[in-house]
Symmetry: C2
Subunit: 406 residues, 2 copies
Amino acid sequence: MSVENKQHIYPVRLEDDLFDIVQFIRRDAQLTRNELVTLLGLSRSKTTKLINELIDLRLLTEAEVGESSGGRKPNLLELNRNFGYVIGIHMGASGANVCLADFKGKIIEWQRTPINIRNKPEQVMDTVFESVFRLLDAHHINHNQILGIGVGVPAPVEKNTNRIVNPATMLGWHDYSISDYCRTHFAESVVKVDNDVALMALGELREGMGKNHENFLMLKIGTGIGCGIVCKGEVYHGTTGIAGHIGHISVDREGPVCHCGLVGCLEKFAAGPALAEQATRAANAGRSAILSELMEKNGGKLTPEDVGTAAGRGDKVANDIIIESGRVIGDVLATVVSFFNPSLLIVGGGVSNIGPQLLINIHRTILKNSLPLSTQDFSIQKSQMGYHAGMQGSVSLVLDHVLAKV
Amino acid sequence: MSVENKQHIYPVRLEDDLFDIVQFIRRDAQLTRNELVTLLGLSRSKTTKLINELIDLRLLTEAEVGESSGGRKPNLLELNRNFGYVIGIHMGASGANVCLADFKGKIIEWQRTPINIRNKPEQVMDTVFESVFRLLDAHHINHNQILGIGVGVPAPVEKNTNRIVNPATMLGWHDYSISDYCRTHFAESVVKVDNDVALMALGELREGMGKNHENFLMLKIGTGIGCGIVCKGEVYHGTTGIAGHIGHISVDREGPVCHCGLVGCLEKFAAGPALAEQATRAANAGRSAILSELMEKNGGKLTPEDVGTAAGRGDKVANDIIIESGRVIGDVLATVVSFFNPSLLIVGGGVSNIGPQLLINIHRTILKNSLPLSTQDFSIQKSQMGYHAGMQGSVSLVLDHVLAKV
């Protein structure tokens, strides 16, 4: 089947064999014609015909390799990076990261835009899309070149409908359709929405430390605490799409009531706002000169970053706050690790930068409270991707869907 | 390829198409030739040729259906239940369940044999195999008709080697090869070993309440506490095969030291021996007349069943012991449910029969401590399969491996 007569309507629909070729090349980046003959199990002539069809469709290009031992040089087939572009959006409580990526999934440029997730959805999305349009203008890219848009949100997302359901922090967003918003600007693009941490896990799986791991966890510590799950090489969402929502696990049955209605939630003790609150209390009580000084500078406020700064300057109170946060998070993760037996825990999110003692204490607590067999092939690493994990996940998610079988 | 010249060496190796046909029929129980043509995507004549080959190999039989609207009756193809037999073994701390099953996986007969898992492996296996031989004799089945043996053990099992690794309760079994033992008696059979609770989950997935669930948990409460995990329709073992070992999750960091070396393990509070111990203490302290009476009858000992009996007779102390056990187990499972977001929790194991208040309190605690979205599509059920879950799992596991591709 030819796709010429609907060039700009996505997903692009391909016959099975054509689709398979693109998937093989997407997975392996570059393949020779011989390799494709083997992978497809079809004849050389049939394979050549299919490849030529994909080149005509502009999905593939041929890159001549330098080395040759006489005769015709073996050509490498790869994706045509300019076949089209995708937008990756990764939204947090206070900022959205927006990127433009090519058909290979390489991020061309990205921007961070301040948002307030508690504002009206429409208003927040308008702010995010100003950033989208700035990127398109800067690179002279037309709307009809945008194959798809991937969006990550700090809320549970219903798999089939792309809709946000019962968000704990995005209160006005319940049942809001980000897809519909995106399609008002990009009517022909594929739109995929997923949970922010699930997308960070996908980013790490495709382009980060998770590449060689079948079963791993992506822990995000920021305004909230959440966990992306990769199981048997795929992101796992659970029955209602809420798997990995560990921020509302109770760590103290006598603890304070959380905004979600449960008691003593992990987030209330160990996420960013909790650290800032504990530090503010210490400063107000005169227990830390450094924290008091920082609070005065900030006009009476303390951030999680201030706690890190104070700890870095040797403040014991700030240091203890971080250590205790690590211990509480490690306590919950010890249970999770005993249950799930992953080979890797990647830690990301803004608060993960607060100081090395956070990770050390998470790790120490997990090791202390787990069976040796649960942790003998287990390691814990700080994410190297930073903001890129979530954006890369959004890009990968939508690229998984811009082509489809007929 | 013909398998005639190695009839009694298992697995039976089949060409891809032949293998696929058997798998389709195994999945759907009965299929017509027309349905197989569609499923395989091959021509009618090629399909007929393959089916005839499988009938010649005695793998398939044709069952004539009663209904016919004139002309030739459509025949249904099914597995030949007498192609061969498998042995399913499911070992607990104090008893082994051994069954004989046909090629369709139907259990023909089963026996329970007392064992003591703390004895030498060889000695325990000899006892188990006395039961195996009794079953074969009773049904006049020869050694060479045994396609395979599936074995479940209450210990972690290394996937690739079939070996028991670092067992917490089977101390003398570390690195012991159950496969080697089985092959001394059944040299030509396939042997597969797995964790007992993982096999109970597999049994429930194939023949029990788990049939229509993609993601569910099988909780076993007995001498220990463990959890089988089904993820995306398959049993999940984790990185080192120890996923689901929740019995050694700490529920009290100030609690007693467990035999595993960790502190305050769930098993120490809520498994069978802990319930018996708490009841014994209450009886000795004169806090329960009914428990004291039962203890005297038993010659100074109390079992978990006694706790159930006392609770059934209205004993408040016994009842409180069960309620507290449910609460402690539910507490750990609330974390697991928040993390894994399953659609079903099946509860089995000997202690699950102790009284309805156990399940009720597990359920209540999970609901109390989980986000609504985590439990909106979640139910908790008592296993209806009893001992059959584990045996059926052992049978299914080995039947998955008695046929292989060339």
